[in-house]
């Protein structure tokens, strides 16, 4: 299956099950959870279902486009369901069937895998979902986000798009995935993942392992932090402040890949980001609860 077909089917599936279809947030980030649609969506009492694809950058996983299994940037399909439905596992399995995975022929297991995002003050419990021995999704019941207890609890499903695509196609190399087909007056041209992404993998790996300027990035990190607190403290603007926190997070990941962060420094830096994201979450909740008509708002059955 082409990667774009896989994404379209998942979006269709979740739209039909009552999810808003969101869009990737246009800032670098390490995980789909960081998209404000999930981060703020998981906080507070408001019912909220959303699904979207998010490119996730993990600089340390960069392999210069040479490793057939690992990427600097991969695609996550992210689904957030708040409150977590009683049939959430069944819904998830139905989504796999929508991809053409016939459960009668495969082995599906949910193995314990608890999730934690220290920069977001977030953790949850859940599973890695194993299909015939391969992890294809993360499944999490959020317990805390932004340092606050989640009430109600959301369920977060994260699909590893490339993984599932390789697996369905029996491919031994990510770059052999077909992205889709370009149809022109002259004919039909299948386009591979290699054509779309390999050069990008090479350059971004080289950037984060070799060329990123350390002094500049440290400077950025400090500047983003300062900017964020100014926005939050002076103006109460939690969304623009949160963007700065996302930039801090990615800058930190680049510095980490460059080997510029010692193990002793690491927890302190993570805490600086967490302090911000948690403050943003609190500011969001305060504003939401102050809005007229939010208290005890009835949900239509």
């Amino acid at each position: 299956m082409h990667i774009q077909e896989l994404i379209l089917r998942l979006q269709r599936f979740w739209a039909d099950r009552g999810c808003l279809i969101g869009q990737p947030y246009d800032l670098e980030k390490g995980a789909g959870t960081m998209n404000p649609l999930t981060f703020f969506g998981a906080v507070g009492p408001k019912p909220w279902n959303v699904a979207y694809v998010e490119p996730s950058r993990r600089p340390v996983d960069g392999r210069y486009g040479e490793n057939p299994f690992r990427l600097y940037k991969h695609l996550q399909m992210q689904v957030l369901l708040k409150p977590s439905p009683a049939r959430v596992q069944d819904l998830y399995i139905e989504s796999l069937e929508a991809l053409g995975i016939d459960m009668r022929k495969h082995d599906l297991r949910f193995e314990e895998d608890n999730w934690e995002a220290p920069t977001l003050g977030a953790w949850g419990v859940g599973w890695q979902v194993m299909l015939d021995g391969m992890e294809i999704s993360q499944f999490t019941y959020f317990q805390q986000v932004g340092g606050m207890d989640c009430r109600p609890v959301s369920a977060e499903l994260t699909y590893g798009i490339e993984r599932i695509c390789m697996f369905l196609g029996g491919l031994d190399n990510i770059y052999d995935i077909t992205w889709g087909e370009v149809k022109t007056d002259d004919g039909i041209y299948p386009v591979s993942y290699r054509e779309v992404r390999q050069r990008e993998e090479y350059e971004l790996s080289a950037f984060s392992f070799e060329h990123a300027d350390l002094a500049f990035h440290w400077q950025c990190f400090e500047a983003f932090e300062k900017e964020a607190w100014r926005l939050l403290k002076d103006l109460g603007h939690y969304l623009s402040a949160y963007e700065q926190a996302l930039k801090m997070s990615h800058t930190f990941n680049v510095l980490h890949a460059r080997g510029a962060v010692s193990t002793t420094e690491r927890p302190g830096i993570i805490k600086r980001i967490r302090d911000l994201t948690c403050a943003c979450a609190r500011a969001y909740v305060e504003r939401e609860s102050a809005l007229p008509g939010q208290e005890g708002k009835e949900v239509q059955a």
Binding site: S84, R104, H106, G133, M134, D172, T264
Partner: protein, 684 residues
């Protein structure tokens, strides 16, 4: 009598919690039955990835009647002179709701006169009613280590509860868990429900396993494990080898599948040039798969893992697992190749950035201390100090390799492997490889002397270092596993028969730590002394010596482990010679008499008068002649009688100061001779 079945069906419960939760509930319910029903009954346990279930056979249907005795005012106040009830008497009867003629007058022990006694009989309640109260209470009270909430609810459990079966005979026990009503139907394997929508009826508690088996689930963990083990053996033999055994992995597999089935797959043979440990670990950690080895212990290019379904209709399970494993092994080979691009020793610089502990510095700092300590220990044991220093220098380098980053459990093993490939001396690479041993109480200690030395240096630095900055294990809190490290130190010394005082060695380690210590040295040493004494006590307990032997031997000194072992051996050989009990009595008397005395060692034997004391004095030179543990013990046993006779005949603290001094000296020297082997006052 009726049978009870309780099944809680959740979303997938983490494998590591199944057994503890199952046991905890069983124990709590058993205790409840004993207390509330007076029934001492066994609880059968079942658990599988989505189910915790328990069954009890033969529970009484009604709680026994409860008798309660109420004691009231004295008889004289309840009855008047004619024997008719008084106001007080009637009030007492009324208070407890019994007719006055059922009030008896009895004289309980300790009372001076008869008093009014009313016996109340509380009818026992139906068990079904009690179960409806106790089952949800006990489930809610379970200790869930990582509890979660879900949906809108504030109920906390290990994973969301989706179905509850509670049958008492044919009756449903009426209760709810977080809004889920207990009923008489369960859920089977997901695969089963694809073709059989709707719940699975459980006709009776006895029909539980059959009902589940019919729905694709094997209820019993033990049955699943046994079937998996058989399948593993069969498929390994088919592949021309045997399973690389791993009891822990087998149990894990039995906990993550509802139906036991092994998938056999293969991987490209060129991955076999990776070290065996890497393959075994990679297969286990990433894929929960077993390796297969031939008769010589060489791995075959195949693996065995569990699947949660009975068949593999289109071969997807096999090809899927093979696909993932290839990806994993590709990564392992990448790490292995990358790691060997530079020699292991080139990692020393990177260790500066790897924190060991905040106050104690980096692994580079630790390495420096381990080098000095290894050299000193090797020297003390008359081993080659240079080799010890070299092995210690390399010991921690693999912590910053990619392979150990991926598989922390390969620490040491990878360092040894890389050094071996670099052509390091066998003594050195083996020492590096073994220096984390023993990593569990039943794991072996390092097999080579140098490995033992580096292991001691590592553990001593950790223990003494942590103590010196105030990290001391208390109660159940021991985050850095210092007790395990301490036990390792003692085991290495004990099992090697190395004559090295652990306290002196720890003092050496403290010297290396120097200024980094934040606690006063004397305080740290005192804490270390108590700590090592406990570890030594534990060690000789593990070695199987009886309690009196351990107490008496330990009390006479424990820092020389070689001597301690010899003394324990000698004491144990005498077993329960009754004369030691008498000797123990006498030793206690001696201790009491000497408590506030400071007698001279010079014994003026000429002033002794009684034949009993002269007899003891005559034995002194031999006792003090260092006759060896076994014969000293024999001599002491023979002394039991004369000592008894001495205490019967002689009053030690007599009027005559010279005689008194001589007797005290005699006892003082006797005790000193005893203490060379044991403190018999601790023999009981």
């Amino acid at each position: 009598m009726k049978n009870l079945l309780l099944e809680i069906h959740c979303e997938e419960i983490p494998a590591r919690f199944l057994e503890p939760l199952s046991e905890e509930f069983a124990a709590a319910f058993q205790a409840w039955m004993k207390e509330s029903l007076g029934a001492d009954l066994a609880v059968e346990r079942f658990h599988s990835p989505r189910k915790l279930a328990w069954r009890v056979t033969g529970i009484p249907q009604r709680q026994p009647d409860q008798r309660e005795v109420q004691v009231g005012p004295p008889q004289r106040m309840c009855l008047d002179e004619q024997g008719a009830p008084t106001q007080t008497g009637l009030k007492f009867a009324e208070k407890w709701g019994v007719p006055f003629d059922q009030v008896l007058f009895e004289q309980p022990a300790g009372k001076k006169e008869p008093v009014a006694v009313a016996t109340l009989v509380k009818a026992g309640r139906p068990t079904l009613e009690l179960l409806a109260e106790v089952l949800p209470r006990l489930v809610t009270a379970l200790h869930v280590p990582k509890a979660m909430r879900w949906g809108h609810s504030s109920f906390e459990f290990v994973r969301p509860i989706r179905n509850v079966v509670a049958l008492f005979g044919e009756d449903v026990v009426p209760f709810e868990l977080d809004g889920v009503k207990a009923g008489r139907t369960t859920l089977g394997h997901r695969l089963f429900h694809l073709d059989h929508p709707g719940p699975v009826p459980v006709a009776s508690p006895e029909a539980y396993e059959a009902a589940l088996e019919g729905a694709g689930v094997v209820a019993s963990f033990e049955v699943r494990r046994e079937r998996l083990a058989k399948e593993l053996d069969r498929l390994a033999a088919e592949a021309g080898g045997r399973v690389v055994a791993d009891a822990e992995l087998l149990s894990t597999l039995a906990l993550i599948v509802e139906v036991p089935r092994i998938i056999a797959g293969s991987f490209p043979a060129d991955f076999l040039d990776l070290p065996k440990e890497v393959l075994v670990t990679s297969l286990k950690e990433h894929q929960k798969a077993f390796c297969v080895e031939d008769a010589q212990g060489a791995l075959l290019p195949c693996f065995l893992t569990a699947a949660n379904r009975a068949d593999d209709p289109e071969g997807f399970l096999k090809s899927g697992n093979e696909w993932v494993l290839r990806a994993r092994l590709y990564d392992a080979r990448f790490f292995y190749a990358e790691d060997r691009k530079e020699p292991l020793s080139a990692r020393m610089e990177k260790l500066k950035h790897l924190t060991f502990q905040r106050e104690l510095g980096s692994y580079f700092d630790k390495t420096q201390r381990m080098m000095a300590l290894s050299e000193a220990i090797a020297g003390a044991l008359t081993l080659d100090g240079t080799d010890g220093k070299l092995a210690a220098q390399y010991a921690k380098c693999d912590l910053v390799t990619l392979m150990v980053g991926e598989f922390p459990e390969l620490q040491g093993i990878m360092g040894g492997e890389y050094l071996k490939r670099e052509g390091a001396h066998e003594k050195v690479w083996k020492a590096v490889k073994e220096h984390y041993r023993p990593d569990a109480s039943d794991a072996p200690i390092p097999g080579t002397p140098l490995g033992g030395v580096v292991a001691l240096a590592d553990k001593l630095d950790t223990v003494a270092g942590c103590f010196s900055v105030g990290i001391i294990p208390t109660g159940s809190k021991d985050p850095l596993a210092l007790r395990r490290a301490g036990a390792g130190i003692v085991r290495i010394l004990f099992e090697n028969g190395w004559n090295l005082n652990p306290l002196r060695a720890a003092a050496l380690a403290l010297e290396a730590i120097g200024e980094r210590a934040t606690k006063p040295r004397a305080e740290t040493l005192a804490a270390l002394e108590a700590f090592f004494r406990d570890r030594v006590a534990y060690q000789i307990e593990q070695a199987g010596y009886a309690a009196p032997v351990r107490r008496a031997a330990l009390a006479a000194g424990w820092t020389d482990l070689v001597d301690l072992k010899a003394r324990c051996e000698a004491l144990a050989a005498f077993g329960d010679d009754p004369r030691f009990a008498s000797l123990g009595q006498s030793a206690k008397r001696i201790s009491n008499i000497l408590k506030d005395e400071t007698p001279s060692e010079d014994l003026d034997a000429t002033v002794l008068q009684a034949p009993e004391e002269k007899a003891l004095a005559e034995r002194l030179p031999w006792l003090e002649s260092n006759p060896g543990h076994a014969s000293l013990l024999a001599g002491l046993a023979d002394l039991a009688g004369p000592l008894e006779a001495f205490f019967t005949a002689v009053m030690v603290k007599c009027e005559d100061p010279a005689l008194r001094a001589a007797r005290l000296s005699l006892l003082f020297r006797l005790r000193k001779a005893f203490l060379r082997i044991a403190d018999f006052s601790q023999w009981q």
